[in-house]
Amino acid sequence: MTSPFAPGIVSGRLTPDDLARNFGDLHPPLDAHEAHVAADRCYFCYDAPCVTACPTGIDIPLFIRQIATGQPEAAGKTIFDSNILGGMCARVCPTEELCEEVCVREVAEGKPVEIGRLQRYATDSVMATGRQPYVRAEPTGKRIAVVGAGPAGLACAHRLAMKGHDVTIFEARDKPGGLNEYGIAAYKTPGGFAQAEVEWLLTIGGITIQNGKALGADLTLEALQAEYDAVFLGMGLGGVNALAVDGADLPGVGPAVQFIADLRQSPDKGALAVGRNVVVIGGGMTAIDAAVQSRLLGAENVTIVYRRGREAMSASTWEQDLAASKGVRILTHVQPLAVHGTGGAAEIELEYTSDVGGKLTGTGETFRLPADQVLQAIGQKLAGETGLTLEGGKIAVTGPGRTSLDGVWAGGDCALGGDDLTVTAVAEGRDAAEDIHSKLMAEG
């Protein structure tokens, strides 16, 4: 084992036991007794606020009542009817700013019904059976291409397959799942859940996945359009925004998304290298996930630096608190000026900022932090060229994901709108599928 105080980016800072504990389930599943106690707290509200707050509109009071009456599998079906990736969403949704934030018991007592954990209990119950409660409709003979096997693409493909269409998913990476597989903190989805969920989802039939097929490199939109009756684009944001400061090319400086992906793909966390002093630049979920996991790997000092105030961070307060509880320091109103070091990052130079009326300026006051690893989490961007109309760097869509090109739909992070959440991607994929189905059936 390496000393936790070893300088530089090294592996094995913690014992295997510590690492196993650190990367265990962040929210352990409810057992049957806990689920009943939690379910009994639901008031079965009329036109419930939690349903309105859920991007996929899951009938939450109904599924909780089904748990309370002893049928968690029926509860699971209620969830999957609206959100086929309800299992993943139960684990990764920021429920504290969606369903649970508006739960009337949160409003009344500051203690919401534990919707997320109950959802996991219900969906796990169904997935434990190995079956899914859906069968395909009669074949329609229609063929649809879906680009990207992430949440949007999978949700779209499943809904289309249910309707009797044949779907081919083209996925650039080696494994399906998208950000569920590559972009979410390991402690939120331990146990290979993302792959298990995809396998379960595919048991509907009628969906084939071709891996190693990226739009632009291996496929063209024109070819897909020529071969298929409709095309859905859900390839996410493959590019990362570059860190435009001196020293950004030094070894030790890199994108947080790659760090997170490597972490997820590594079965042995002890083999993963992490710096002693890690600085993460950014204010979103990616920054939090990278910073927290750096700490969990054994980095001694982990600092998130963000150029605006806490309230402007897109990571939820709950996530910020999680980071703080893991020993991550969050510095706000600072921006990077340069990374210094010889042969590798050693220090980061930062400048305080002033945010007056939304206009951000450096104050001129600078300081340096030790940094043998710098992770940039300052946003992702669309990779490649589609020829579609873009807006704000994303594919412009109207209604249920219709792009500027007839016969081409888009959803998830690559499309305009949504909150870059798994759950919004699922909703967009599902709604696009319904629209595609209507259109194709109307055409006959």
């Binding site: 106690v37 009994d40 509200c45 419930a48 009344a108």
Partner: protein, 434 residues
């Protein structure tokens, strides 16, 4: 702190909280624990005739009905009377009473409806020094099939006959325990009164099947694939018990007769409600079976505090205080007009009042933008359903419309005067005002 000492039929106890005749009072060990925990008295589990005791089933004896969070709301029991030897019980009763002179020890008895059977057991009970007896005419399961328990309680003539025997062969107070499994509780109470009973106690348990095993297709508790109705008790039966107590308390024939109230009493408030409805003491079983004997400490402290707040020096000050206000429907004031009011500060916007009113009542609640709920007086009949389904206490209340205001629903001016159905113009039987 108010003094809870109670005198019921001349029987003194440190408080009015007695344990009902039931499994918790089956033997000395339990009863001593109960007295140490603070119970004012016990009614010893029912004794049967001398000879081989009854036998109980060896499978489950209880079934349950649950509320949220698996709170026990109702319990169903198929246990019979004591299955221990008569003389063992009598000796234990004697010892316990000698050690606890300030507590009430009542002996429950159930023997066949034959004078000799009662004549035989009563002197044995008298010798124990127990304070009185309670005649078990209530058990609805098992023993009733043998012509005892509720089989007796359902025939007023038998009640009177047996009570008379008891008064003849026993010198201390005789309490008759009534079964609720009848049409009119006033009849058996009157029979007990006619037979010379010193008091009645009620209710015994209600015929019940709490649940059905959907795999076995059998009632629960299930004994080798079969089930039998049991006796229902616990918080769920309290409303039935209160009503029956009130009927006896206000009936002409039984008015003023001492009552020991039984039926789902769980808290000091439940006890106070039974007492103001005419009960000199209350008997508890399910609460003790659910939470242990310690519950009496909350009951005693709570009743005492409430008495202090109300200025009552002794329990006798308020026993029966609510009886004059129990009346027939026909005498309720039809000019008493109320409307529901929702406290917007307390409202948590769950919308249950809206669902209840819109779907099942009078469409008298508006749901405004932003989940704001408001009562529409023009439709509100003041049914109280919104109050009952609201999860927040006192969030919705009923507010009386003062005389002289116009009821938006009827368009009529609210009158200050009392007027009931007997004189209402819509009543074909209305007595014409002379």
């Amino acid at each position: 702190m108010a003094d809870l000492t109670t005198d019921f039929l001349g029987i003194k106890s440190i408080n009015p909280f007695w344990l009902a005749s039931a499994p918790p009072t089956d033997k000395e060990y339990n009863v001593r624990r109960a007295f140490e925990a603070g119970w004012g008295g016990v009614v010893w589990k029912t004794l049967g005739s001398e000879g081989p005791p009854v036998v109980n089933v060896n499978g489950p004896r209880y079934g349950a009905v649950y509320g949220a969070d698996r709170r026990l709301l109702g319990l169903n029991n198929i246990e019979l009377i004591t299955d221990r030897d008569l003389y063992v019980n009598l000796e234990e009763i004697r010892r316990v009473k000698a050690d606890y002179p300030d507590r009430a020890v009542i002996v429950s008895i159930m023997v066949p409806c034959e004078e000799d059977a009662w004549k035989a057991i009563l002197p044995l009970v008298e010798e124990t020094g127990a304070d009185g007896i309670e005649l078990n005419f209530g058990c609805p399961h098992g023993m009733s099939e043998r012509g005892m328990g509720s089989a007796v309680g359902q025939v007023p003539e038998y009640i009177q006959m047996v009570t008379e025997w008891c008064k003849k062969y026993y010198s201390r107070p005789v309490i008759v325990k009534l079964t609720p499994n009848i049409t009119d509780i006033r009849k058996p109470a009157a029979a007990a009164h006619a037979g010379g009973a010193d008091a009645v106690s009620l209710i015994n348990t209600i015929n019940s099947i709490t649940s059905v095993d959907l795999d076995l297709m059998a009632p629960q508790p299930t004994i080798d694939g079969k089930g039998s109705h049991g006796g229902y008790c616990g918080p769920a039966v309290k409303p039935i018990a209160l009503s029956m107590v009130s009927e006896i308390a206000r009936a002409e024939e039984t008015r003023g007769m001492p009552i020991s109230g039984i039926g789902g009493i769980t808290t000091w408030r439940d006890a106070a409600e039974f007492m103001v409805m005419g009960c000199g003491t209350v008997q508890v079983c399910t609460a003790a079976m659910t939470y242990g004997f310690k519950v009496v400490q909350e009951m005693a402290a709570g009743l005492s505090q409430w008495m202090d707040e109300k200025g009552y020096a002794s329990t006798a000050d308020f026993v029966g205080a609510a009886v004059p206000n129990v009346t027939d429907w026909q005498y309720l004031n039809l000019n008493y007009v109320t409307k529901a009011r929702i406290d917007q500060d307390l409202c948590i916007s769950c919308g249950r009042c809206y669902a209840a009113c819109e779907d099942t009542s009078h469409q008298a609640i508006w749901m405004h933008e932003g989940r704001v709920f408001e009562v529409n007086d023009a439709e509100c009949v003041a049914c109280n359903l919104c109050v009952d389904v609201c999860p927040v206490e006192d969030c919705i209340t009923m507010e009386r419309l003062p005389g002289g205001t116009v009821d938006a629903r009827t368009g009529k001016v609210v009158s200050d005067e009392y007027a009931n159905w007997t004189t209402h113009p819509n009543n074909p039987m209305a007595r014409a005002a002379e």
